[in-house]
């Protein structure tokens, strides 16, 4: 006898709960908790990581990401404006750049920058500059596309109104369009920041000194020193310390933007 749709939905929900219980039970019964605990939750090994993992590694990760994001934002804005330019070669250059740096793994960009550029041009940046440039290059491609979408999402009438009031094209862009574009793209931009935070774990490839370690490198060094996996778990938790609040911030901004739209609709309706 065929089940009614409501009964079927109920049965399906039951199956989903069943699967969940089975998976949890399997983990509880079959995982070797003693070994796992020794390897990953060794509190003694973890305690040796303090305070360096906070004062050096967490701080460095935030500094590297911050520098990279700032540069990526500046570069991304230039690229977005190039992509919207009426001069065709600017558009081509921006498109090639964006496609390249979005499509190539961050690790390869870091290697090219860390080892290729010094060989090619006989210049050596200090670590912070190299890291900022590397992360900036990786971030700028994504940020440029986000910014371009944001700028294009601002209605054309806004520029026309600004121009009709005597503002120059540049003035209209700076005073009217870009502020509104940023309001639109704040949530996706926060996501870019989260991605960049994680990408910063790859800059170990540039060869860092002990005081320059970021979280991932610090955790791996700790792993070697303590002969335990626990430090890397701790480092992972430290990433969450950065990314989870950023995620909340992003969702909060999204909700606020959404609410504003809804309020707007309500009033004009």
């Amino acid at each position: 006898m065929p089940m009614s749709p409501r009964k079927r939905a109920q049965a399906f929900r039951g199956v989903q709960y069943g699967i969940l219980v089975l998976v949890v039970a399997a983990m509880v019964f079959f995982a070797n908790w003693e070994k796992l605990g020794n390897a990953f939750f060794d509190l003694e090994a973890m305690s040796t990581q303090f305070p360096g993992i906070i004062t050096t590694a967490l701080v460095n990760t935030i500094i590297y990401t911050g520098l990279g994001f700032a540069l990526g934002l500046a570069l991304g804005l230039v690229l977005a404006l190039m992509k919207l330019s009426s001069v065709a070669p600017y558009r081509w250059i921006a498109t090639v750049y964006i496609e390249f740096f979005r499509g190539v793994p961050a690790l390869l960009v870091f290697i090219a920058l860390g080892f290729g550029v010094p060989v090619a041009f006989q210049i050596q940046f200090d670590t912070y500059s190299t890291v900022a440039i590397a992360l900036g290059l990786v971030g700028s491609g994504y940020i440029a596309e986000t910014l371009r979408a944001g700028i294009q999402a601002v209605p054309k009438g806004q520029v026309e109104a600004a121009r009709s009031l005597g503002m120059s094209q540049t003035r209209a862009m700076v005073t009217i369009v870009i502020p509104q574009a940023f309001r639109i793209i704040l949530p996706p931009l926060t996501n870019e920041l989260i991605l960049l935070t994680k990408d910063s774990s790859l800059i170990y490839i540039l060869g860092l000194l002990g005081t320059q370690y970021e979280l991932a490198k610090f955790g791996r060094e700790g792993m070697n020193a303590t002969n335990s996996m626990s430090p890397i778990l701790l480092a992972g938790l430290c990433y969450l310390l950065i990314t989870v609040p950023l995620g909340y911030l992003s969702r909060h901004l999204e909700r606020r933007a959404g609410r504003k739209r809804d309020e707007g609709l309500e009033v004009t309706a």
């Binding site: 109104a161 009031l165 005597g166």
Partner: protein, 264 residues
């Protein structure tokens, strides 16, 4: 032509808007096929005509939001079609009101009215705010100074847009179908503000479908069709007693749409 002599010319009493031989094409589509219009200081000119007749394009050519292909546009002494004209400076004296209001969404009502005064005319904040509040008062929205545009009704937004244009103290105001996007019950407030503006002697060019407004407020009505001015003159003539068949057909459709549909 230098702006100095131009302004002197305008002040000496010639027409404030002088359009000669204006042509505009979008690709292969020729939208304006040789338009000549002149507007005297203090005159209200309404432009009527079927959609696609080029009315809005003509208006947008007056402040060069659309670049004409040929012909000249002189406004308040500035020849806007001259490649050497300081276009941003010329536009300061031409206020424009759009069908879609186009208030700056990230700025409060007051900031919408002061931003161009401060950034373009370099007025100090106090002076800009004083003028802004004066103009908000004029459109009956003094109490909305702190509101954001999205909190206002369409009619209120359009009145703010008018106040924003007035705050630049323009010599002429352009209205591009200012009431077409409004709910019917909100049209009256906007037309009321425009009528008061006309009574105060503002020079106005209005693209509109509001025949009642054109009949009562306009000094001159232009009927456009197919990219040319078919007929122009006082409203009693063009709307009351049109000479051209095309004008008659258009008016019968606009003034009596149900009847016109039956006889089509």
């Amino acid at each position: 032509m230098s702006a100095g002599t131009g302004e002197a010319l305008a002040a000496s009493g010639g027409p404030i808007v002088e359009i000669t031989g204006l042509h505009k094409a979008f690709g292969m589509l020729e939208v304006l096929k040789g338009i000549d219009v002149s507007v005297e200081r203090g005159e209200v000119v309404c432009i009527i005509g079927p959609s696609g007749s080029g009315k809005s394009t003509l208006l947008r050519c007056v402040n060069v939001l659309e670049e004409p292909n040929s012909g000249t546009v002189v406004v308040n002494g500035y020849e806007l079609t001259d490649p050497d004209v300081e276009i941003d400076k010329a536009r300061r004296s031409i206020g424009m009101v759009f069908q879609g209001f186009n208030l700056f969404g990230h700025l409060s009502v007051l900031d919408n009215l002061t931003v161009a005064q401060r950034k373009v005319l370099k007025r100090d904040a106090g002076e800009a705010e004083r003028l802004a509040r004066e103009n908000l008062e004029k459109v009956g929205l003094a109490e909305k100074a702190g509101a954001m545009p999205e909190q206002l009704s369409g009619g209120q937004q359009q009145r703010v847009a008018i106040a924003r244009a007035l705050s630049m103290q323009p010599a002429v105001m352009l209205f591009d179908e200012p009431t077409s996007a409004l709910d019917p019950e909100l049209v009256g407030d906007v037309l009321g503000v425009m009528r008061r503006l006309a009574d105060e002697g503002m020079t106005m060019l209005v693209v509109t479908h509001e025949m009642q407004f054109a009949r009562e407020v306009a000094d001159k009505v232009l009927f456009m069709d197919g990219g040319v001015v078919v007929e122009s003159g006082p409203p009693t003539k063009v709307i009351g007693d049109p000479a051209e068949d095309r004008t008659k057909t258009f008016l019968s459709r606009v003034l009596n749409p149900i009847h016109a549909a039956e006889t089509d």
